[in-house]
Symmetry: C2
Subunit: 342 residues, 2 copies
């Protein structure tokens, strides 16, 4: 009996929020492997704000997913079959830019096998030592260039990227203020992740709270959100400040043109450096980033959370958790069980 695969197909370009009818879960039999290929059963599928970008027909950093094509996505997979010399069943790999599928069939060359690190759960490879951790690490270290004693503000601070940015900045000796959307998140940021302060933008006056918590102004704004919050932070930047531009999640569902920051002129006055980046730009340096983050992780210096939704069938509906700010830490869909690795 041929085993069946399940794949989410993009059927329509979402207008505003993604509706379930924009995608369709399709079953199809698995084809036999070709030489050099491996088959990986998805354990964790990564859900990220950028998924929404890929669904839109806009001039983004990657071509959009075509209508009728499998939805692009990746995560961790368990190798179940292999016709590639370097990988065998039971190995766990990062599937990279694959599909929202139960099984992905991939060229074995270039697939990264996940090592087993003492005391580090598999989900860390979706967080601090995965793509979101690398986003935080390179965006902050390479663009932000934090110096001891500086003040760092990060938006979407309790998300997978933001929570790492703040903790890396603390390791660098910075004052760190996070902006997040609930009291629970703010409590986690300060009490668990060690941020100096956190602002609940849904309840507090962000400008007034930034004035309070950043008495020496803001040297680095790690931007994940855009919109009004970004504007409020830009108004408080110091001379020669830096702004790694990582994401603009508040705008991805927009159906009308979104104005840029009203305080754009302050980027001139403050001589701010703004630099857009996408984590894949840093792929050649991932080894460096993963080594450093893994070390901090094993030293207990990085706390992380994983927001787990179960079942591939729940992938599209779960994406909204990111846009509604429901997730604490890395949002993943658990598609199949973790293997016993002990």
């Amino acid at each position: 009996m041929t085993e069946m695969n399940k794949t989410w197909i993009l059927r329509a370009r979402p207008v505003g929020e993604v509706r379930e009818s924009d995608l369709e879960l399709v079953e199809a039999p698995l084809a036999p492997l070709n030489e050099g290929e491996v088959r990986a059963r998805t354990i964790y599928l990564s859900l990220d704000p950028t998924n929404r970008i890929w669904m839109s027909d806009m001039d983004a950093y990657l071509p959009p997913v075509g209508l009728g094509d499998p939805m692009r996505g990746g995560g961790l997979g368990l190798v179940t079959e292999s016709r590639f010399g370097g990988l065998e069943p039971g190995d766990i790999v990062n599937t990279g830019l694959a599909h929202w599928s139960l099984y992905n069939t991939l060229p074995g060359a270039g697939l990264a096998k996940m090592p087993q690190l003492p005391g580090v759960p598999l989900t860390a490879f979706m967080g601090p030592i995965g793509a979101t951790g690398m986003t935080a690490y390179f965006g902050l270290m390479d663009i932000g260039k934090p110096k001891e004693g500086e003040t760092v503000v990060v938006s979407a601070a309790a998300g997978a990227v933001g929570s790492m940015v703040g903790q890396i900045a603390k390791i660098q000796g910075c004052r760190v203020v996070g902006i997040a959307g609930s009291d629970d998140k703010c409590k986690w940021l300060v009490e668990t992740a060690g941020f100096d302060a956190a602002i609940n933008y849904k309840k507090e006056d962000v400008g007034a709270m930034l004035d309070k918590h950043c008495p020496n102004g803001i040297d680095i704004n790690f931007e994940n959100v855009g919109g009004e919050i970004m504007d409020t932070v830009i108004a408080r930047l110091n001379d020669f400040s830096r702004m790694p531009l990582c994401g603009l999640i508040s705008t991805y569902n927009a159906t009308d043109p979104v104005p840029g920051p009203y305080n754009f002129a302050n980027l001139l006055m403050r001589r701010t450096l703004v630099k857009g980046f996408i984590v894949i730009d840093y792929y050649p340096r991932f080894a460096e980033g993963i080594q450093q983050m893994a070390q901090w992780l094993m030293e207990g210096k990085l706390k992380f959370e994983t927001d787990v939704v179960r079942g591939l069938e729940n992938a599209p509906s779960s994406l909204s958790r990111l846009f509604e700010g429901k997730n604490l830490g890395k949002l993943v869909v658990q598609v199949s069980e973790e293997p016993n690795r002990s």
Copy 2:
């Protein structure tokens, strides 16, 4: 008989365009010099877009000029009296951040004496080898980092800064497209300054013309203007493009909040580097910039124009030439005659 000085005093914060009633020309007797001071009679007073910023009570890169205080400005002055060892009557100095005055009384220490360069008129010290030239040189070379074969777009291209940016970019082997506000300016840019193309934004569809003249996209946007033109350029930036943020002249007279670029998200998608800068940040490196620009100038590689208005009394009313785009090249007020230096 004590000689009289004339100084423009800022009386009111302009709302929108500067009106003559916002300033007052006041006469007062010159005080005797103190030890270490020199007195310089202004030959050329520099008029620059940033003068408008200094008149506003905004959080800019320098404190605003106080109401009742002399208007800030500088240019070239002829030393008429000196109690400073290194300078003597007849020397020509750059007065730096002095006043809109017939005479400025300045500490001699740190005043730069202008050398005599073969075949180079004095007005070059207001242009290519003055502050505007340094703005162009460092903004383009240090932030833009042009590479041979890249495409550079510059707005306010026929202005003092823009015209130098384009010519320096040509020397670096780039394709250069200028955006300016009249057919005469566009003609000068292409026929005299050697730009590859120029777009008259008052008559042409800037987006369509950029598409035509930048078939390989835009690698560097040297931004002087802001507003709709900036947005149109940002939409056409290439991956890993750079945007030296030098000025936003279209917004300086605004009385309402000005939205940032609607294509702000493209800075993320294209991984663009945006860097605000003010030429005074580069003061420690001026010698390097002046040496290079002077060499190119003497080699005949830099063409420049000076837009000369005569009479200190015309300074406030002439500032509008910048905002209406009437000047070709560096706008100066000739306050007194050049000395005979042959």
